[in-house]
């Protein structure tokens, strides 16, 4: 088989799975998980096949999709190093999540819809990964948004699901607004949206890129990767089923933003890159603080995702897109692991999500707890685990380029360990704080299996030199670049010390501060104002709510009122009324008395005469 066929198979397998699930009808919906699983396995197999087939990872194919006049738009595949790396990650993570979902959603009556959505999501995500040009990326970009909308809104009877799904889609659209304009401007600037061609053009003449285009294009990233100020949707998106959260927040959707940045790296000017770096750093710290004031286990993880995305953005802004990809991959695995672990916990606790109501779960569900803790350690960057490698690289690069950013990122690392420690200690240690938690027991193998697999990856994936099939070329490139920096050794030491200090201090500090399996939040008790401040998350949500309800809705209502009153009421009705009044007036003229009629004649004659005489 040639590569194109395999790529097509990879792309369309999940779509076919999704369609099959929809079409088999209600009665046979129980087959839905199996079909989705088949789809995922199919992706994995064909991906592997693809890797076996093509070692060099450079492939392009384009179709002319639409053409008007001299303007032709192409859609096409690109299969290169970055894409291959992403593809490998996505296929593995999504398989794990699909398997996990089979357990997690086993008692959900609407699992047909769920699995169809999941498969469709994978289709969209794979589409982004394989796109060779911006238009096709945008196509699938939007589809990703749509499928996440479906999945977040899975429990559609719940109000929060409605709000969250809506918010996610709309906030993403705001980002896409800029993205779309950026793509269009790119098209006119370069005459094509093919990324390779653009990169070539920029290589020839760097003056082609501009702040405007770069700035607009990163809007897409800001929306999809939930960067400030469009981050508001991500924590709310936890209203969806937990595996979805894993899929969206760990592996795919948010990663798509970073992936996009990596792809359009060449289009970004230095200023834009710096902006991204600062933005990412800010988010890394900001989200870390926010996570302290969350009680929902998934929301804590969501803020942690935000924070980690901030890291990726920061490093990308500093010019190391390979390291960003590296962190993306490692993060994908351990964050998927964490989310699935959280899912297992939630599932075990009968959909209890507040960490205050858990506690003492380590004994009840050891496998889950262990894997979860490993995941946490990986996140914190404990030496030897995957997170360490990527975070280490990020910090070194930051130290090398920008000391302020480095300090902030270290602060972020402290915070990460702090809130993750809080999470672990509260959930797994101590005693059960609620009946639901009390009755919890270990999840079935179908759910713990993926956890174990992901744990393995979370531990091992950091060793990028051992990635099979020669994946991660760009990662190695950037890492090598880093290793050959002038003061690499000393920097490495500094980072190592600070990094280790961060996770040790964070974990221990939180253990000391929060205690084991505590019922109430200590911070809330001791410093309610601080907690409230953190909980407010800089009032971003309130700001959005205010904008939506007060400004936007008011404006809409006012316009609607004006439309109704001024246009319809005043002009139209007014016009009709005027005619009506005139009509009545003319009827009054028709008095019925002959003398008045003679007067008409008379007046008419006088006018005639005047006209004739003039």
């Amino acid at each position: 088989m040639d590569i194109l066929t395999i790529l097509l198979i990879i792309l369309f397998t999940p779509l076919v799975a999704s369609l099959v699930i929809i079409l088999i009808g209600k009665e046979r919906r129980k087959w839905a998980p199996a079909i989705a699983l088949l789809g995922s396995i199919g992706i994995l197999i064909s991906t592997t096949g693809l890797f076996l087939e093509s070692q060099e990872f450079s492939y392009q194919y384009s179709w002319e999709w639409l053409s008007f006049g001299e303007n032709t738009f192409y859609l096409g595949f690109v299969f290169d190093n970055i894409g291959a790396t992403m593809l490998a990650m996505v296929s593995i993570v999504s398989l794990c999540i699909t398997v996990f979902s089979m357990g997690y959603m086993s008692d959900d009556p609407a699992r047909g819809r769920y699995f169809a959505g999941l498969s469709f999501f994978m289709f969209s995500m794979l589409g982004i990964i394989l796109s060779s040009n911006l238009i096709m990326i945008f196509l699938f970009w939007e589809l990703v948004g749509f499928s996440s909308y479906l999945l977040i809104g899975h429990y559609f009877d719940k109000n929060e699901a409605r709000q969250a799904s809506q918010k996610a889609f709309i906030v993403n659209r705001i980002g896409d607004f800029g993205f779309l304009i950026g793509i269009i401007l790119t098209y006119w600037q370069f005459g094509t949206t093919n990324l390779e061609a653009i990169a070539g053009a920029v290589g020839v003449d760097a003056s082609l890129i501009s702040h405007l285009i770069g700035g607009l294009l990163i809007c897409g990233f800001i929306g999809k990767s939930a960067q400030f100020p469009l981050h508001v949707w991500l924590p709310d998106a936890m209203a969806g089923p937990t595996p979805v959260s894993a899929l969206i927040h760990a592996a795919t959707m948010v990663a798509a933003g970073i992936y996009l940045l990596i792809r359009i790296d060449c289009l970004l000017t230095l200023e834009v890159l710096t902006f991204i770096a600062y933005l990412g750093t800010f988010v890394a710290v900001y989200a870390g603080f926010c996570a302290f004031a969350q009680k929902d286990i998934k929301r804590i993880l969501a803020y942690s995702t935000l924070s980690q995305l901030g890291y990726m953005a920061a490093i990308l802004g500093l010019g190391y897109s390979g390291i960003a990809l590296f962190h993306l991959i490692t993060h994908a695995f351990f964050k998927a692991l964490l989310f699935l672990g959280a899912g297992a916990v939630i599932h075990a606790c009968h959909h209890e999500q507040s960490i205050d109501k858990m506690g003492g779960l380590f004994k009840k569900m050891p496998i889950t707890a262990t894997s979860f803790i490993i995941g946490t350690l990986a996140l914190c960057g404990v030496y030897g685990l995957s997170g360490f490698y990527s975070k280490d690289a990020i910090l070194i690069a930051a130290l090398d380029s920008n000391f302020q950013l480095f300090l902030l990122l270290i602060l972020g690392a402290f915070l990460t360990a702090g809130y993750m420690g809080r999470l672990i200690w509260t959930v797994f240690l101590g005693k059960a704080n609620s009946e639901n938690a009390d009755h919890a027991h270990e999840v079935s193998p179908i759910m713990s299996g993926p956890l174990i697999v992901l744990t393995l990856f979370a531990v091992l994936v950091g060793l990028n030199h051992y990635w099979p099939f020669g994946l991660g070329g760009i990662v190695s490139l950037d890492l090598d670049h880093l290793h050959h920096l002038e003061h690499y050794k000393s920097m490495h030491k500094t980072v190592l010390i600070w990094g280790s200090a961060a996770w040790i201090v964070g974990l221990l500090g939180s253990l000391l501060f929060y205690g084991r399996g505590s019922k109430a939040d200590r911070l809330q008790d001791k410093a309610p104002k601080l907690y409230a401040f953190l909980e407010s998350r800089l009032w971003m949500d309130e700001l959005y709510a205010f904008y939506v309800n007060k400004i936007q809705q008011r404006l809409a209502d006012i316009l609607s009122f004006l439309d109704e009153v001024l246009l319809r009421g005043f002009i139209i009705r007014g016009g009709a009324g005027l005619v009506g009044v005139l009509g009545v007036g003319l009827r009054i003229l028709q008095v019925g008395r002959l003398n008045a009629y003679y007067l008409w004649f008379f007046v008419g004659l006088i006018l005639l005469w005047l006209y004739a005489a003039s």
Binding site: L599, V603, A612
Partner: protein, 160 residues
Amino acid sequence: MVFNPNAVNSAMFMIVVLVATAGLFVLLEAYFLAILQVLVYAGAVMVLFLFIIMLLDVDKGDDLKLGRRKLSLLARFFGVCLVAFLIFNSFSEVNLPSPDLGTVGDYPGIESGIDFSTSAKSFGLILFTKYMLPFQIIGFLLLIAMIGVIVISKKQKTAE
């Protein structure tokens, strides 16, 4: 005639006007028309009017109602004055070229077709030649008037 509140008096004045007009016709040497005027208008038509006025007994009504509608009346009066002024103005400005009175022939001259003449004979000739068609139509017009009068004022029949 116009301002007299009494209908009978109005009609009487009307007859005077008509006869006076007939006099003007005579001055214009249109003797036949003058006689017709007196006979048809002053005689038949006005008698009919008087007859109806008497029949309907409506001669008493003071229908001018000057008191009540003084203002509108005044306005109309000024309107009429305006028109009168306009007429004078326009006609005096234009000053219709006033030709001399030509001769009036006795009867249609055979050589030159129908010459100008006011004699009854020439009327007859022209009516029965050139104006034969309108003449016939006038007959129908009278028929229509007759039928109309009959239809309108026929005694009401009781419905079966």
